[in-house]
C-alpha cells in the first residue's frame, strides 16, 4: 500500500504533463477514448452511465449516436469497425443495457470484429446486493468477449481502456467489455496515457520461420491442382493487396468464405466464387479435388467443410492463421504457419520470386486443373429460372448489383436466404465493403450495421439487403437513421416467409411449414412513412429498375419492400451431412436428398 502511494507520488513529482491532474472517472474514460482516436460512440443512456453521458455533453470531439436498442448499438459499432478497419465503440448502461448488448458481443466474437463495449454498473457498495438494474455483466459476457474488465477504481480506469483497445485490435481481433461502476465514474484520479498503460499480449505470435515459408512455396510450386481458400482473416489483417499479389504471381485459383468476400476481386478470372453450403459448384469441387489447399485466415467452419471425413480427401493443406487455436481444430493440416496474413504472404511472395529467378514456375503444371475448373464454371451453378409476372429474389439482387455498379457502395445483410443470395449475386472487388453476420448468424444485424457504416462513410451508398423477418428484429433503428439523417437503404427481399427456415422444412421436414409463415407483415411503405423515411414497393419485374433508381436517388433512409416469389430456394446447396462434391443444384428437389443422419445437423 505504502509503495503504491509512493510511486504515484513520484510520478506526480517527475512528470509535469497535464495527465497528473485529477479528473472524474467519466472524464478519464473519454480522455482514453479520445487518445485511442475514437470519434464516434454508439450508445444508449441509463442510470449507471449518466456520469459518462454528462461528460459527453460538453465534449465535441466525440460524436454520440443514440440508438434505439443496445443490440443495435453493438451491431452499429461492428458495422463501423468492419467498414473502416478501426475499433468500434458502444456505450450501454447496467443490467438490461448490458444483457441487450450480449448478442452483439457474441456476434463480434465469432466474426473477430474489434469492438469496445463500455457498460455502466451499479456503485461498488451495491454490487452483489441485487440492486436496481444490477446484473453480473462480467460473468454474463465472459464467454462472449475476447476479454472483459470490471474497473475497480478510477485510478486503474484509463489504463484498462487502453489495454482493452490493445486486446481488441491485436492478434485475432474481438470484442472487449469494460464494466464501470457508477461511483468509479465519479471518483477522481490521474490519467494514464496510452504509452504508459499495461499491454498484455493474449497470444504471443512467434516469428515466421523461413523453413516454413520455403516448405510452403516448395509445395505450391509442385502442386498440380492448387487452390487458395481465404477468409475474413485476410480482411482483418488488411492483407488483400498481398493476397492479390500472391494469387496473380502464382496463377492459382481462389475461393473465399462468406467472411472473406471482397478480399479478392470477384471480377477476376482466377476467382471461383464463394465456397461452402451455398457456394459455387466450381469452388466446392475445386476444394474437394485439389491436391494443395492454401488456407489463409479461414477456420474450416462447418458451413464450409460439410462432412469432415469427406472434406478435400486428397490434398495437402497449408494453414496460415494468427490464432494457434484455429490450427488443427476441425481439420488436421500438413503445414501450419502462425502469423499475420499480410506478413506471411509477403514472405511467401518473396520466396516465390526468389525461386522464380532460379527456375521458372511451369504454368503447364496447373493448366489441366484450370481447364477442369472452367468445365465446372460452365455449368453456371447460380443460374435460376426468371419469371415474368413475379420478381425472383435472385433477380432482385442481380438488378441491385447492376444498378449500383461503379458507385461507392457498402452492403450489409441480415441472416437467411437473402443473405446467401446477396453473397451469390452481389459481387465485390474491394475488401471492407461487405458486412454480414457469418459466425453467429444474427438476424437483425444488417440494419444497425448499415447505420454504423453510414456514420463512418457519410457520402457512400450503404445498402442493407434484408429479409422481411430479419429486418423486423431491429427495425426500431430506422428511428436512429432518421434522427441523424443517415440515408441507409434497406432493401427487403420480401417473401413473407422465414425463408431459410421454410427451405429447411421443405427439404428436411416434409414441407411441414411449422410457424415459418409471416402472417400480418407490416406495410413497409407506411412503416417508412411513420418513421419519417421513404417507403417504396416493387411487385413486378418490369417496375423493379425504376424503383431501385428511385431508392438510389432518395436522400432519406429508405425501406424498399421488394415483393418476391414466396417459395424460392437457395441453390446450389451442400445438404447437411454431405461432401463438397455432392451438391444439390437448383430445379426439382424431392426432399429425399438429405439422409436421416443429415437431418439431425443444423
Amino acid at each position: 500500500m505504502t509503495t503504491a502511494l509512493k510511486t504515484s507520488g513520484m510520478n506526480e513529482a517527475v512528470s509535469t504533463a497535464p495527465s497528473t491532474a485529477q479528473k472524474s472517472g467519466a472524464e478519464l474514460v473519454l480522455d482514453a477514448l479520445e487518445e485511442q482516436g475514437v470519434d464516434v460512440i454508439f450508445g444508449y443512456p441509463g442510470g449507471a452511465v449518466l456520469p459518462i453521458y454528462d461528460a459527453l455533453h460538453h465534449r465535441s470531439s466525440i460524436q454520440h449516436i443514440l440508438m434505439r436498442h443496445e443490440q443495435g448499438a453493438v451491431h452499429a459499432a461492428e458495422g463501423y469497425a468492419r467498414s473502416t478497419g478501426k475499433v468500434g465503440v458502444a456505450l450501454v448502461t447496467s443490467g438490461p443495457g448490458a444483457t441487450n448488448a450480449v448478442t452483439g458481443l457474441a456476434d463480434a466474437l465469432l466474426d473477430s470484429i474489434p469492438i469496445i463495449c463500455i457498460s455502466g454498473q451499479v456503485a461498488r457498495p451495491f454490487i452483489g446486493t441485487d440492486a436496481f438494474q444490477e446484473c453480473d455483466t462480467t460473468g454474463i459476457t465472459r464467454s462472449c468477449t475476447k476479454h472483459n474488465y470490471l474497473a475497480q477504481s478510477a485510478k486503474s480506469l484509463s489504463g484498462i481502456i487502453h489495454e482493452a483497445f490493445h486486446i481488441a485490435r491485436r492478434g485475432r481481433p474481438g470484442p472487449v467489455l469494460v464494466d464501470i461502476p457508477k461511483d468509479v465514474q465519479f471518483e477522481e484520479a490521474a490519467y494514464t496515457p496510452r504509452a504508459e498503460a499495461k499491454n498484455r499480449n493474449c497470444i504471443v505470435v512467434p516469428d515466421i520461420k523461413n523453413n516454413d515459408i520455403e516448405h510452403a512455396v516448395e509445395l505450391m510450386r509442385h502442386a498440380r491442382r492448387p487452390v487458395f481458400y481465404t477468409g475474413g482473416g485476410v480482411i482483418n489483417a488488411g492483407a488483400s493487396a498481398q493476397l492479390r499479389a500472391l494469387a496473380r504471381q502464382t496463377g492459382f485459383p481462389l475461393t473465399s468464405t462468406l467472411m472473406g468476400l471482397g478480399s479478392f476481386p470477384a471480377s477476376d478470372p482466377q476467382w471461383l466464387g464463394m465456397l461452402g453450403m451455398h457456394g459455387s459448384l466450381e469452388a466446392n469441387n475445386a476444394m474437394h479435388d485439389c491436391d494443395l489447399m492454401i488456407c489463409v485466415g479461414a477456420r474450416f467452419d462447418d458451413r464450409v467443410t460439410g462432412r469432415l471425413d469427406a472434406f478435400s480427401p486428397n490434398s495437402r493443406k497449408i494453414h496460415i492463421d494468427i490464432d494457434p487455436s484455429s490450427v488443427n481444430k476441425n481439420v488436421p493440416v500438413d503445414l501450419a504457419i502462425i502469423g499475420d496474413a499480410g506478413e506471411v504472404m509477403d514472405a511467401m511472395l518473396a520466396e516465390w520470386r526468389r525461386r522464380e529467378t532460379q527456375e521458372k514456375h511451369d504454368k503447364v503444371r496447373i493448366a489441366e486443373w484450370l481447364m477442369q475448373i472452367d468445365g465446372w464454371r460452365a455449368r453456371k451453378s447460380f443460374q435460376f429460372e426468371p419469371a415474368d409476372d413475379r420478381i425472383k429474389p435472385q433477380h432482385a439482387v442481380q438488378r441491385l448489383y447492376e444498378l449500383t455498379r461503379g458507385k461507392d457502395v457498402y452492403i450489409t445483410t441480415e441472416v437467411g436466404q437473402h443473405q446467401m443470395w446477396a453473397a451469390q449475386y452481389f459481387h465485390f472487388d474491394e475488401p471492407n465493403r461487405w458486412m454480414t453476420s457469418g459466425g453467429l448468424g444474427t438476424m437483425g444485424y444488417g440494419l444497425p450495421a448499415a447505420l454504423g457504416v453510414q456514420v463512418a462513410h457519410p457520402d457512400a451508398l450503404v445498402i442493407d439487403i434484408a429479409g422481411d423477418a430479419s429486418v423486423q428484429m431491429t427495425m426500431q433503428e430506422m428511428s436512429a437513421a432518421v434522427q441523424y439523417g443517415l440515408p441507409i437503404k434497406i432493401f427487403i427481399i420480401n417473401n413473407a416467409y422465414l425463408g431459410m427456415v421454410r427451405q429447411w422444412q421443405e427439404l428436411l421436414h416434409g414441407r411441414r411449414y411449422s410457424h415459418s409463415y409471416s402472417d400480418s407483415l407490416p406495410d413497409f411503405v407506411k412503416l417508412a412513412d411513420a418513421y419519417g423515411g421513404h417507403g417504396i414497393r416493387a411487385e413486378k419485374p418490369h417496375e423493379l429498375d425504376a424503383k431501385i433508381e428511385e431508392m438510389l436517388a432518395s436522400k432519406k433512409p429508405v425501406l424498399f419492400d421488394c415483393v418476391v416469389t414466396n417459395e424460392e430456394n437457395v441453390f446450389p446447396m451442400i445438404p447437411s451431412g454431405a461432401a463438397h462434391n455432392e451438391m444439390l443444384m437448383g430445379g426439382a428437389v424431392t426432399g429425399d436428398e438429405i439422409s436421416d443422419e443429415g437431418k439431425v445437423l443444423v
Partner: protein, 184 residues
C-alpha cells in the same frame, strides 16, 4: 449403430477420434486477478473438455501470479486444442503440458477419515504406516490420516482402507513441478 460402415456424418466441429484418450496434466500460470479461475473453468465447460482435478493458489505474491494445475483427458489433438484455447485467455501467461515432461514430479495430498473399532482399527493403522500416512486426529472410534504421494498411491491407499471403515476423503488434486533447475 452402423459406425463401422458409415463414418461420422457430423458437420459440427467435433474432433474426429484420432487415437485413444489419454490423461494430461496441464500447468497454467495466470495473473491472479478477479475472475481468472472462472475464465479457465468456463473455457473447459463451454468447449466440453474434462476436468478431473483442479488445483489453484497464488505462488508469486509480488507479481500476483497463480499456478493452476489441471488434470484433463483427451486425444493428442484435443489436448493441443485445450492448450491453444487456454493460451488465448488474456490473464494466462504460460501453459505447460507436464505429462509431456519425463522429469515432472506430481503429488497429491489427501485427508482420510476412518471410523472403525477393534481389528479394523489396528489394520488401518498398519496400512497407514506402510503408506507413510500421518494420523492427524484420533478418537476411540476414528482416525484422520494425512497422506501425500502420486495419484496412484493415494488411490491404492483408499482402496485398502475402504473395507476398513473409510468414511470421508478430502483431496487437493494433483500438483506438479519440474525436476532439476529448469522452471515452467
Amino acid at each position: 449403430m452402423n459406425t463401422t460402415t458409415t463414418p461420422s456424418q457430423s458437420v459440427y466441429p467435433v474432433t474426429p477420434d484420432q487415437g485413444a484418450a489419454k490423461e494430461a496434466i496441464l500447468t497454467v500460470i495466470v495473473d491472479n486477478e478477479p475472475g481468472v479461475l472462472s475464465r479457465v473453468v468456463g473455457l473447459f465447460s463451454a468447449r466440453g473438455y474434462n476436468i478431473e482435478s483442479l488445483t489453484v493458489a497464488e505462488v508469486d505474491v509480488e507479481k500476483h501470479r497463480s499456478r493452476i494445475t489441471i488434470v484433463t483427458s483427451g486425444t493428442e489433438q484435443k489436448i493441443e486444442q485445450i492448450k491453444a484455447q487456454l493460451g488465448r485467455l488474456v490473464p494466462v501467461r504460460r501453459v505447460a503440458d507436464v505429462t509431456k515432461e519425463s522429469d515432472a514430479l506430481t503429488r497429491e495430498l489427501a485427508l482420510v477419515k476412518i471410523s472403525a473399532t477393534g481389528d479394523h482399527r489396528v489394520e488401518a493403522m498398519r496400512v497407514a504406516e506402510i503408506f507413510r500416512a500421518r494420523p492427524l486426529d484420533t478418537t476411540h472410534t476414528s482416525f484422520i490420516f494425512e497422506v501425500t504421494g502420486a495419484r496412484d498411491k493415494i488411490n491404492a491407499f483408499l482402496d485398502l482402507l475402504r473395507p476398513l471403515g473409510l468414511t470421508e476423503v478430502s483431496r487437493t488434486g494433483v500438483l506438479s513441478i519440474r525436476r532439476g533447475a529448469e522452471t515452467d
